[in-house]
Symmetry: C2
Subunit: 232 residues, 2 copies
DNA sequence: TCGCGTCTGTTAGAGGCTCTAACAAGAGAA
DNA sequence: TTCTCTTGTTAGAGCCTCTAACAGACGCGA
């Protein structure tokens, strides 16, 4: 469970505040797990904490605010899981690292499908307002992926000039996000990889493969192999 | 807008009933479009129809029931759009048909993102109960895809014996769904294709590419080409 | 054509939710 | 010690879903 970014540096008051916020989020995630976003209820959290409902509005300005924090936390957790897996316990080869990345991505989604859904299934309408926070939160995970893919093909040469519009857009993206030197080709591979993994993972956690009687594992392996082949 | 499957064969009473149900669903879809599933309100629909809220419970046993009908309708509409596009106005080559399929899939999702979300983003918890209806509804679309892919590689030979577990699962799936002779290899290509398209589409409609400043079109084209290459 | 019974609507209300307002009591700081 | 800000309380407005009890209308069979 990720903590609020700002550490409880202040006095006792602040410390207590952070503690309560964390407890609320913990219960919120549990509610999310069994019942989806619509089951998240400030009132019910209050009851579970032995406190009146409105009391929690001292800690979160609204239900949507709470949900947004959960999204940001989820991004952090996912990024951490990916970074840990690709760093690995022992030295990993480049293809091994990609496999580890894919496996970690899938595992995280399967362990906490409700949180994965939170990241990619737009639980709130008109969420563009918060977009900035979320974009920042997703950056971490993207950096891990870019790192893994870069190792696969060291040729991250800036030779390829930006000829297609897409190349230009990719370049602009990596610059504006301040991503460590990323060629358009690499960026494209990252987007494709992410998209394919997300396709499989999201179908899996919604039970589409299960309802077809298919084991998702070999499907995953096949896609990872396809990605590896395309990346060399 | 899809109709309720059963035609209004009965008397005037039934005809009226079907009419009201259709109107309710129409408004429901509009609510969905601006506000997501959580904005769908039986009460509000009643108000808009100039009728009290509880009146509508004569037509839909619950809010979730209404939502389920919307999901089924959406599946039908998507399948129809895919079938129409791949049939085409003029004779299409096999690769052209796949391109048409992918384009239609993407277009449908972009035109009605809220309904696409309904299909793949599990708006209701504990939805497995309804799974049977939904599985049946999705069959149509799958048949279109299988048909398109089969034309790409006429070698739909039953030569390939089922050696891997996945092959066996795929075979069992196509049999249990009563899909027109589908080899495991073809079934696998269908699943992969579907998964890749869904990955791109779902990221696109949630605005992930937009927030990266990327035009999804070339990304799509690249994936379609990759699918074509893998299928020949 | 006539009455019957079903179907379709009504309101009342229970119980849930979010969120605001007004107020009480505490703990930390001066 | 006193003051002030923080954190809690309850009341209540305004939503929601859904059930219950009841009233009226309309199609259908005789």
């Amino acid at each position: 469970m990720a903590q609020t970014p700002d550490p409880p540096v202040g006095g006792l008051r602040d410390r207590f505040r952070a503690q309560v916020r964390s407890e609320v989020k913990q219960i919120a995630v549990r509610q999310l797990a069994d019942g989806g976003p619509q089951a998240l209820s400030i009132n019910a959290i209050g009851k579970e904490l032995g406190v009146s409902g409105p009391a929690l509005y001292r800690y979160f300005s609204s239900r949507d605010d709470l949900l947004t924090e959960l999204v940001v936390d989820a991004y952090h957790d996912l990024a951490t899981a990916l970074a840990t897996a690709t760093r690995g316990t022992r030295r990993l080869s480049a293809p091994e690292r990609l496999r580890a990345f894919a496996a970690a991505y899938r595992d995280w989604a399967n362990t906490e499908p409700h949180r994965y859904r939170l990241l990619f299934a737009a639980p709130l309408p008109g969420y563009d307002a918060q977009a900035a926070r979320l974009v920042a939160a997703s950056r971490e995970a993207m950096i891990v992926l870019l790192d893994v893919l870069a190792a696969l093909t060291p040729d991250n040469g800036k030779a390829g000039s930006t000829d297609t519009p897409l190349d230009g857009q990719l370049e602009h993206w990596s610059h504006s996000r301040e991503l460590p030197d990323v060629s358009p080709a690499l960026a494209l591979r990252a987007v494709t990889t992410w998209s394919r993994l997300h396709g499989l993972v999201s179908l899996e956690i919604e039970g589409n493969f299960a309802s077809m009687g298919l084991d998702p594992e070999p499907l995953f392996d096949a896609e990872v192999i396809a990605i590896l082949n395309a990346s060399t």
